[in-house]
């Protein structure tokens, strides 16, 4: 084995987009190879779970961990890699804040099954559901146990750094890799534990080129009602609920740039402890009405506030799950 510092990347419950985003740094990958001894990276190379187990605790310098905590296997590996890694980075939206799969926290796991295994195209007269342990004639087959709710990495293990984004933009990944290499060469310092890396400290508007004015909103509109949006003017000012004002900068305002509203994949700005609350208060503040009835009428323009405000952040919000989800799971 070489004496280069060890690097690992892992995916828990994720879509694989984070891995693709890393591969999309193209030739930068070679820098990783040059400076690190890649010991564990499912998407890119072979290695075995028990190889990792065999390593000394803390022997991996840097682990980029993506994916959420959907089942007990996810958590098991999270704990293992925490033990083995000096620096554990929650990489991407799933690991930092739960991402879209976190929306599952609005309903109990049972419901996920009830729906998934009884869709219109499913023929399931005997109401069969997958079992964590099932006897087939030849023996027993086991499946991992789903967590009652999706958790973020930091809710399961101690996390050193957070790298937001669904997925993190490749230019940001490249930048972070550069930083770490510079640290290794003693040319730079690591940021304080708990910092967000590969992202800005402000919000998307900071990078958005659109013109902004003093805001007052008389009606919220759906994107399909107004598209194509005015190419110059702030999308929120055109009535489309754009999450840009509350969403951490770092993506170069990609979506607003192509005429789509920001959906918030970079999560809350620095130090904000509840992303959705920032949007609730910001949007409500600029609603141009005083009478409850008028206000309600304008708010009707946002058909799904909970989803709108917690699309990516639900699992990391202060409430984290709906009463349905956790009451059913006997918390």
């Amino acid at each position: 084995m070489s004496n280069k510092p060890k690097f690992a990347m892992y995916w828990a419950a994720s879509c694989g987009g984070c891995e693709i985003a890393v591969l999309n740094i193209h030739e930068k990958i070679l820098d990783v190879d040059a400076n690190f001894d890649v010991v564990f990276w499912p998407v890119a190379m072979d290695a075995k779970y028990h190889d990792v187990e065999a390593m000394e605790d803390g022997s991996i310098l840097l682990t980029l961990f993506n994916g959420g905590m959907r089942n007990d296997e996810n958590e098991a590996i999270a704990r293992l890699l925490r033990r083995k890694s000096k620096i554990l980075v929650a990489f991407g939206s799933c690991a930092t804040e739960g991402c879209i799969p976190g929306l599952a926290n609005l309903s109990p796991v049972e419901e996920l099954f009830d729906i998934a295994y009884h869709t219109v195209s499913t023929n399931n007269p005997h109401n069969i559901h997958p079992q964590t342990s099932f006897e087939v004639p030849e023996g027993t087959l086991t499946l991992p146990t789903m967590n009652p709710i999706v958790k973020t990495l930091a809710q399961v293990v101690d996390v050193d750094y957070y790298m937001p984004g669904c997925p993190p933009e490749s230019h940001q990944i490249a930048a972070v890799i550069d930083l770490v290499i510079q640290v290794l060469q003693g040319k730079a310092q690591l940021p304080p534990k708990g910092s967000y890396i590969g992202a800005g400290n402000s919000t998307v508007c900071d990078e958005c080129k659109r013109d902004r004015n003093v805001k007052t909103i008389t009606a919220f509109k759906r994107i399909q009602e107004v598209a194509p949006v005015d190419p110059k003017l702030c999308i929120l000012e055109q009535g489309v609920p754009c999450n840009g004002p509350a969403t951490r900068s770092g993506c170069n305002a990609r979506c607003p740039t192509v005429g789509a509203q920001c959906i918030g994949c970079y999560g809350p700005a620095e130090g904000v402890i509840d992303y959705g609350a920032r949007l609730i208060t910001a949007f409500a503040s600029v609603v141009d009405a005083r009478e409850p009835a008028e206000i309600e009428a304008i708010l009707d323009g946002i058909p799904d506030p909970t989803g709108q405000f917690y699309r990516f952040n639900l699992a990391d919000s202060l409430l984290r799950a709906s009463t349905k989800a956790w009451k059913k799971n006997g918390h």
């Binding site: 994720s14 987009g17 999309n24 193209h26 779970y49 089942n71 998934a116 219109v120 030849e138 990609r254």
Partner: protein, 489 residues
């Protein structure tokens, strides 16, 4: 005494796929099970969301082929609103999709499937990866492969806004208007892509077809299943990725059915097994007969090969030529050998590149007319596209505000779950006899598996080319009798 062998794609330990093989007392294969141990429940938590969010939410089902979900969702949302997007909008979506296809097929051929052939199945495993490929066919190809992926991503980002998880398709069209400058670049990249595709097919012919052993491997019985084949076709029954009707041909290659997206429920049904989180789709009108092939089993396949089998040809000239050569070489339609999927994939790569240029040179592609505001009350709609890994179906029902009340998704790879289970099973049976586990087992099973380019949950890509496996043989008491590893340490 029963032995149990688990083939555990160790690198996906959190479980995107795990094979358990049970041996009977004689040491022959009693049965094998391919398990998918994950469920994220999109069908549940998408309910309650506004339908225009589906192209954004369902992206997150798969970061490898988000474009496919983006398109299927957008089309389903159009249908929900009963709106027909302007021609330019549809072309932009399809252009993005072609670029994605070219990238994805390239990745698979050079990084995942290709090495089996280019390096040869018997080459040292450690060399059978993209690095090995580059080594064998020359560095400049490595450069070209990276170039191809870069170009693909550039187009996806130009039209879709982002390299991964595009965000521009909305009910009634798309939010992005293409500038002439962008169009020029896209056209140039497209022309380059055509050359790259031709070059790749030539390489395949030189290295694989010219080599008797490889050819036998392809046409060999181990990888043969006589199943139904599914694919999207245009009005002339030519292969289409973005739009058209779903056509199914029977194991003899005769058209079994041809339906519009909205009618998919008359033709497709899914089965639940208690030992896996993934469902098994099958042809409703044939019925579920278990993991078996033949005309009487509803099992069907949806892959590049299936699309070719289910069509009458390709809609672009060069690809059509490649199509004809494909069947001429493999002895006519339909082709049942799974390994031919690799070749079929290259035919599609060429089509994607050609159509890419066709779209990029259409005078209307830069028109600002990219969206039609929906005026009808939203109700229900189905959107179907061909994902690289199979026919992808999104089906939404909404209330009058366009908020989802029902969601049904049949994801590309799911179509092939039963065939893969069968292929791996067959490989196991043919290679495990009297308790002797043939050393080639891993490799053969892996090849069977990989030919489908499976994308479970929905992200089981593995670079560089390995589906690294380990077989642990335990006695009934669970003690390890033998461990077979794919990689020499």
């Amino acid at each position: 005494m029963t032995q149990r062998i688990s083939i555990d794609p160790i690198t996906r330990l959190e479980g995107h796929g795990k094979i358990d093989i049970f041996l009977d007392d004689k040491g022959d294969v009693a049965n094998s099970y391919f398990q998918i141990p994950e469920l994220r429940g999109f069908e549940r938590f998408c309910v309650g969301r506004p339908v225009e969010e589906m192209p954004l939410l369902t992206n997150r089902i798969c970061g490898v082929c988000p474009e496919a979900h983006h398109m299927a969702a957008a089309k389903a949302a159009d249908a929900v609103y009963h709106v027909d997007p302007p021609r330019t909008a549809k072309m932009l979506r399809e252009l993005l999709y072609m670029a994605f296809y070219a990238t994805d097929h390239t990745t698979h051929f050079y990084a995942l499937g290709g090495p089996d052939f280019i390096m040869g199945p018997d080459a040292p495993v450690a060399e059978r990866n993209i690095l090995g490929v580059i080594h064998k066919v020359g560095l400049e190809i490595g450069g070209k492969v990276i170039q191809m992926r870069k170009y693909g991503h550039t187009v996806v980002e130009m039209i879709g806004g982002r390299k991964v998880h595009p965000c521009t398709s909305i009910p009634g069209g798309i939010t992005k208007i293409l500038s002439e400058d962008e169009r020029k670049q896209i056209e140039e990249m497209g022309r380059w892509a055509i050359d790259f595709a031709l070059f790749t097919i030539q390489a395949f012919k030189d290295i694989v077809l010219a080599n008797k052993t490889y050819l036998d491997l392809i046409v060999g019985d181990v990888y043969t299943h006589r199943t139904y084949y599914m694919g999207l076709v245009d009005a002339n029954n030519k292969v289409n990725f973005y739009d058209g009707k779903v056509r199914v041909v029977d194991p003899d290659g005769k058209e079994f059915c041809k339906y519009e997206a909205k009618d998919y429920l008359n033709h497709i049904e899914e089965r639940v097994e208690p030992w896996t989180y993934l469902k098994f789709p099958y042809l409703k009108n044939v019925g579920w007969k278990g993991f078996t092939d033949g005309k009487d089993s509803g099992v069907y396949m949806a892959t590049p090969l299936s699309r070719l089998n289910a069509s009458d040809g390709m809609a672009t000239p060069k690809a059509q030529a490649a199509y004809e050569e494909f069947y001429a070489t493999l002895g006519g339609k339909p082709v049942h050998q799974r390994l031919a999927i690799h070749w079929a994939r290259l035919v599609e790569l060429l089509y994607a590149a050609e159509h890419w240029v066709e779209l990029a040179t259409d005078p209307e592609i830069t028109s600002p007319n990219v969206h039609k505001v929906p005026t009808e009350i939203p109700t229900e709609g189905v959107g179907i596209v061909e994902a690289p890994r199979g026919t992808l179906t999104h089906h939404y029902t909404t209330d009058e505000r366009g908020v989802l009340t029902k969601v049904n998704l049949i994801v590309g790879t799911t179509n092939n779950y039963a065939p893969i289970q069968m292929s791996t099973n067959k490989a196991a049976r043919s290679l495990i006899k009297g308790g002797n586990v043939n050393e080639g087992l891993l490799n053969m099973v892996e090849m069977a598996f990989r030919a489908y380019d499976p994308c479970f949950g929905c992200a089981t890509h593995s670079l560089p080319g390995q589906m690294p496996l380990e077989i642990t043989i335990r006695n009934p008491d669970g003690e390890i009798v033998d461990v077979l590893k794919q990689f020499v340490e």
